[in-house]
């Protein structure tokens, strides 16, 4: 079974702190994604990566950065956390879908971040 593991289920941070959210997948997937989920807004894409060291902005990249130094690991970084970044963060991975686009996404359990 595909496993996508997010390092922390719950985090509480203070405004201005640097926050790292880690995600590891064990299926050699090319594509990895970071979404945030907020009530009424669905899942919004922050960043995604289609290969090691490659990254592309999603729909709401402001205030975030990412790192993909190894194929299995995709990290989301909040350089200076703010209260409006309080949210559920979901990592996902999938194989490259070629012309048809990415295949089905496999999600981690999520990391609920609270910024005070």
């Amino acid at each position: 079974d595909v496993k996508v593991t997010q390092s922390s289920r719950y985090l509480v941070k203070r405004t201005g702190e640097k926050v790292f959210l880690e995600c590891v997948q064990d299926m050699d997937h090319e594509n990895m994604f970071w979404y945030r989920q907020d009530p009424g807004l669905g899942l919004r894409l922050i960043y995604f990566s289609y290969d090691v060291k490659m990254k592309e902005k999603g729909d709401i990249p402001e205030g975030y950065s990412v790192s993909r130094e190894k194929k299995e690991r995709f990290s989301l970084i909040l350089e200076s956390a703010s209260t409006n970044q309080t949210s559920m963060y979901l990592c996902a991975s999938t194989y490259g879908g070629g012309r048809g686009g990415p295949g089905e996404l496999f999600f981690g359990e999520g990391s609920r971040l609270t910024v005070l």
Partner: protein
Amino acid sequence: GQQVMQIPQYQHVQEGEDFTTYCNSSTTLSNIQWYKQRPGGHPVFLIQLVKSGEVKKQKRLTFQFGEAKKNSSLHITATQTTDVGTYFCARVTGGGNKLTFGTGTQLKVEL
């Protein structure tokens, strides 16, 4: 980025009633995926539709892709309490590797 609009946002049904959620886009979709997220859980893939007019069934769930590939629907026949959750559609955008999710439809089923 353009989010896909889903309607309704919420739906309460009595167990045994049918349920439908719609996913609408102003532009042509190359394909559409559907996911289900149980309360407290993470989204789980249900199906992908690719062809114009495609209809696929999974037990009590029927998925349709519009002829113009601008809309899709998920229909559940005779809902059960196990159907409770939020249903999302997702579309490929931005050159082929980016998946954008709809706003979701939250389904509650009452006995």
